[in-house]
């Protein structure tokens, strides 16, 4: 399934509806659906807020697929090059008053998905996020 979004936050609602249908159609476990929902929210927020240097409308392509025992979520945007896999790890062991306020979004993507890969292809960012599915759901 491919969903094409404009770079506007309200477009995420359209994606949520598509994700819910996809999870239902493929009878995926709720935990896998929650993980994809969170990873997409965090990544798309970063893309929409930080990837573009202009105010023009851009297309962001989201692809959902079940490939064997994996849920594959891919996001492709034409924003400036940014590799989230190279972002520093958030230190969640620090006391609350010493913690930086930002940086949790990428931490959530790493924690809720099993594999995250980035590629820069033809001036586009492609982030592939993979969630392993329990045997019964595959």
């Amino acid at each position: 399934m491919e969903i094409i979004l404009k770079n506007r936050p309200e477009e995420k609602r359209k994606l949520l509806a598509a994700l819910e249908s996809f999870v239902c159609a493929h009878q995926l476990p709720p935990a896998a659906g929650r993980a994809a929902d969170l990873a997409l929210e965090e990544h798309l927020t970063n893309v929409m807020e930080y990837a573009y240097d202009d105010r023009r409308e851009h297309e962001i392509r989201v692809r959902l697929d079940v490939n064997g025992a994996h849920l594959v979520v891919e996001v492709e945007d034409d924003g400036r090059a940014f590799d989230p896999t190279q972002a520093p790890e958030a230190d969640t062991s620090l006391p609350l008053d010493q913690r930086p306020i930002g940086g949790l979004g990428i931490h959530f993507i790493r924690r809720c998905m099993d594999e995250v890969r980035y590629q820069r292809q033809a001036n586009r960012n492609v982030l592939r996020m993979i969630k392993r599915l329990p045997a019964a759901a595959a």
């Binding site: 936050p9 929650r34 929210e41 927020t45 969640t92 930002g102 979004g105 959530f108």
Partner: protein, 108 residues
């Protein structure tokens, strides 16, 4: 997302239901700011405790966690406290992932 506010003296409770996504996090932030800085409205007292009840939260993103962390710090500087109460499964998972569950969730 909906937020309902209950006030008892200097204790405030925000009952949050629905998705605390980017847009929901902004509304949560505004709801807490209204308690912190609009104290004269409706003869409200200075808040000593703010309880954010997340039992009805079906989703929580990093922007929501950030709002909770930020205002928890503000309340500490005022010798007060902001606590999360009864987080749903979805909210609890995210608070644990962020490493703030032990710090923010009310111990019963």
């Amino acid at each position: 997302m909906d937020i309902q506010k209950n006030i008892a003296g200097d204790s405030y409770e925000l009952l949050v239901s629905g998705r605390v996504d980017g847009e929901g996090a902004n509304r949560l932030d505004e709801g807490i700011l209204a308690i912190l800085f609009n104290k004269n409205k409706d003869n409200q007292q200075d808040p000593k405790k703010i309880y954010v009840n997340l039992s009805g939260a079906t989703f929580l993103c990093s922007a929501g966690v950030r709002a909770l962390m930020q205002h928890s710090r503000t309340m500490k500087t005022r010798q007060g406290e902001l606590l999360v109460t009864r987080p749903s499964l979805e909210a609890a998972e995210v608070l644990k992932m962020a490493g703030v569950y032990e710090h923010l969730v009310e111990k019963i």
